[in-house]
Amino acid sequence: MLTASQVAETYFLESRYMLLEIAAYLDRYDAASIREHSHNGNSSDHRKGEDPKLTLIRKALASLADPAAGIERTSALLKLFATL
């Protein structure tokens, strides 16, 4: 089995890549949302009525960032996504 530092090293770039994809997904959603709202003439409240999928992603990210989340993060996220 790998040591902790080997795990950190081996999967760092892959994790960085996946986080960047999530960041781009959120940016893409915001850009589309702003386009739609400005098309309708109310660009100030583009966050209103956010798609529940996005809300779930934000919850998942907050859960990952919590240092007290323990070592069952994957299981917790699967349960969270099952609520959609």
């Binding site: 770039l13 890549y17 960047l20 994809e21």
Partner: protein, 285 residues
């Protein structure tokens, strides 16, 4: 759809890649000189490498109906060897005479040391004196922002034709200053360490596609030439038209690379066949 792969390290790839690229619409590739995975010691090693990419590789690509073009340079990772860099630079002009060599590249920065900056300046200066195009590599990962800033600073201190310079591997945090300064930029699609097809399309939608080139590099490391086709698919599935796809993935490379007359592939426009559309109109009437 016809596609041009403007940054492709063909000597690191198999004939099967050429075959599959040809089957998926690639009509031309351009191969910059690259790092071999170790620092080369001898100028002669570079000269043979330049011969390989400017003489032999076009014949390999031609077997699959793909046009092959190339660039020559000392890689930034090897620029610490000043004697080597100087000697290779002195022999590069003979390669500018080759029928498929388009310019100087990929030069640029890796760790952004003084020797690297000096080598970059010498490469760009040589290119400008010989009316060559320039392809500039920017560093990856943690060095990206600083290295790109240094590239722009080096170029700002020189008398260059910005239309003939392509700054490659830009990402979300480096694209704007490069475009604002008037250069061409490139997105390099890599499975993990550079830009992804989806992020590239995000940037195309945000910035438009004037002076933007998309490539998949594809070398001897973890890389995939077909990330370019993935990007085409992502672009199309978001509703962009066939003509817009051709403009990004075929015509933009024609516009930049075609500044060197050796690159004679012309931009293309998709139009309905005149006779068929006329007869269709007659039937509809």
């Amino acid at each position: 759809m016809q596609i041009i792969q403007p940054h492709y390290h063909a000597i690191a790839r198999t004939a099967q890649d050429y075959e599959r690229m040809a089957m998926s619409g690639v009509v031309a590739v351009a191969e910059p000189a690259f790092w071999a995975g170790f620092d080369r010691k001898y100028p002669e090693t570079f000269i043979d490498y330049f011969r390989q990419i400017s003489e032999f590789e076009p014949t390999r690509a031609a077997q699959y109906g793909i046009r092959h073009f190339s660039w020559v340079a000392v890689n930034p990772k090897e620029a610490e060897n000043k004697t080597l860099t100087r000697e290779v630079l002195s022999q590069m002009p003979e390669f500018f005479q080759k029928p498929t060599v388009l310019g100087v590249g990929e030069t640029g920065l890796h760790k952004s040391t003084k020797n690297e900056c000096d080598a970059l300046e010498a490469h760009v200066d040589l290119a400008m004196k010989h009316q060559q195009l320039v392809l500039i590599h920017t560093p990856h990962l943690a060095d990206k922002v600083h290295g790109t800033k240094r590239v722009l600073e080096v170029l700002a201190g020189m008398n260059v034709d910005r239309d003939r310079i392509w700054i490659d591997h830009v990402e979300e945090q480096t694209i704007r200053p490069c475009l604002d300064a008037g250069y061409w930029v490139g997105f390099t699609l890599y499975p993990i360490t550079k830009c992804s097809p989806k992020r590239a399309v995000d940037m195309l939608e945000k910035y438009g596609w004037d002076r933007i080139l998309v490539n998949s590099s594809a070398d001897w490391g973890p890389s995939d030439p077909f990330t370019l086709q993935e990007c085409v698919l992502e672009f199309r599935r978001r509703g962009h038209s066939l003509q817009e796809s051709i403009d990004v993935f075929h015509n933009n490379p024609c516009r930049f690379l075609g500044q060197n007359p050796k690159f004679d592939i012309q931009p293309i426009r998709v139009e309905p066949c005149a006779r068929e559309s006329a007869s269709r109109s007659a039937v509809e009437k």
